[in-house]
Symmetry: C2
Subunit: 306 residues, 2 copies
């Protein structure tokens, strides 16, 4: 798919603005929904705020709000759901970074939560953000319609548990001991990263009251950008700049993991990511300009350097 | 409150039967809802099943089903909600037992999850059970009414997060470094243990469609048995038998924590637990024989030895 220079510039402007806006909005929302309690729980909420505020690309909330906006959903409602999906993402990063997991010391350019607050507080802060995500969705402020709220809970719960992210993380641990083929690595990544990215799009559609059977093109879009996202992550891990990424790189190779880059080589992996993005964008053909942000996001996902 | 020998024997029989039945039902339910997947996630689900099946008194599901039964709720629906609240309890035990938390090696008389499966799998198994609890509640099989389901999610989410269990656990960690007074220890325990026990009763009432404003006597009952439960736990930690308890004891004293027993002494603590149970039972005065199981449970909570 060829785009003119003006189209690329327009899409980049739209995306840059949306990325800046969602970063500001999600920071503000976390700041507002997580006030420091005046008792001995303060340290827990400090750790939650430290992890949740001021870092990350906020891709999941952006996918959610961009999808919701296509269907005319009120931005405040979409942002609350975006905070919930980001809370799940942030909790998973806190637990992933633990010494018994990936043992990372740096995240978004600052010390990881267990380095800054200790391991026990890091485990608890992750757990508390996990529960908080569902509390937020259950609150009538997210949607006045209980059916919409429970659909949001179902989508996020399934995407986070053993049928989604946690299941993918388990497969990722097993991948250090066993040789996986391309099909198994694809399945692993669909669960580990794809499920939550897909839930973000799905939750936008739920808020937009798009009937479940009419969401298949959005699911196709989400599935393809999910895999493209992971290939891009593998490429960043393989050849990126740690200072730009804000975290340690070159770890998967060291662990001998069968990533997309290890299985396909960097050139074929890059080409595959491009094909997936074109496929993802094609799923949006029924939409007009209102889907431009989702299109730009799909391209950004493989072109980013962190 | 004096009870005749026949009344005590009747209550004990009712309770013994209910305890045996809930233990069997919850084991069967976990077995059914957590089938082993035929892929690399198998180890994760094995760890979840190892922690969830075959151990524990199942007090929370029993409180939930006993409350639900008073209001004529279908037992299968109540059991599903009971599995959800127990999944939260089990995940909290897995994470509590981690080396960076309480570093326990024995739970329900068998090695803790991190001893049997490794720390990383233990963290993930806890996380996966946490998400699974909300998945279960969001499923229409729990209740055909979306408002009931979202009320269940709200009650469980609030009881587990920083406003409930996780907040209490943080206070408990701070209690190792700071001297708390009786009021602060009471608040700590209300969050750490009381919130989830209270949620179990609340969720039974939600399933029974008891209007929120009419649940205050059940909240009073739950609050008092929650504190009585914790005092009993402190007494077991102080003077119990490790073989009977199935876990390491005498730990709070070693850590210098301000428990109820440390603050009041064992005799006054025991008397206080008795007063709380009498108060809890008095909250049920408006109910007849249908509340006998909740009454027996209140007495059992302080008389148990594990």
């Amino acid at each position: 798919m060829t785009r003119t220079g003006a189209e690329v510039a327009g899409a980049n402007g739209l995306l840059a603005e949306a990325l800046a806006r969602i970063a500001r909005d999600i920071d503000e929302a976390f700041d507002q929904v997580l006030p420091l309690p005046q008792d001995a729980r303060a340290r827990l909420v400090e750790a939650m705020r430290y992890a949740a505020i001021g870092g990350g690309k906020r891709l999941r909330p952006l996918l959610l709000t961009a999808t919701a906006e296509m269907y005319g959903v009120d931005r405040d409602a979409a942002l609350r759901a975006g905070v919930a999906v980001e809370a799940i993402h942030v909790y998973s990063l806190i637990h992933d970074d633990l010494p018994c997991m990936d043992d990372d010391t740096l995240r978004h350019g600052k010390p990881t939560v267990h380095k800054a607050f200790g391991e026990a507080t890091a485990v608890l802060a992750g757990d508390a953000l996990h529960a908080f995500a569902f509390e937020l969705l259950a609150d009538p402020a997210t949607s006045g319609d209980p059916f919409t709220r429970i659909e949001l809970v179902a989508a996020l719960g399934q995407a986070s548990g053993f049928q989604g992210m946690a299941g993918g993380q388990m497969m990722d641990m097993v991948a250090e001991e066993r040789v996986f083929d391309l099909q198994t690595v694809t399945r692993l990544q669909q669960l580990k990263t794809g499920a939550l990215l897909g839930a973000a799009v799905e939750m936008g559609a739920i808020l937009g009251h798009v009937p479940a059977e009419a969401r298949s093109h959005l699911r196709g879009y989400a599935r393809d950008i999910g895999l493209a996202f992971q290939i891009a992550d593998d490429l960043i891990d393989h050849e990126g700049d740690e200072a730009v990424a804000g975290k340690a790189l070159r770890k998967d190779m060291g662990a001998g993991k069968q990533t997309f880059v290890a299985l396909l080589g960097p050139e074929r992996a890059r080409a595959q990511a491009g094909v997936l993005v074109d496929q993802a964008v094609a799923y949006l053909d029924r939409h007009g300009a209102e889907a431009d942000l989702l299109r730009a996001l799909a391209r950004y996902i493989v072109e980013r350097d962190r």
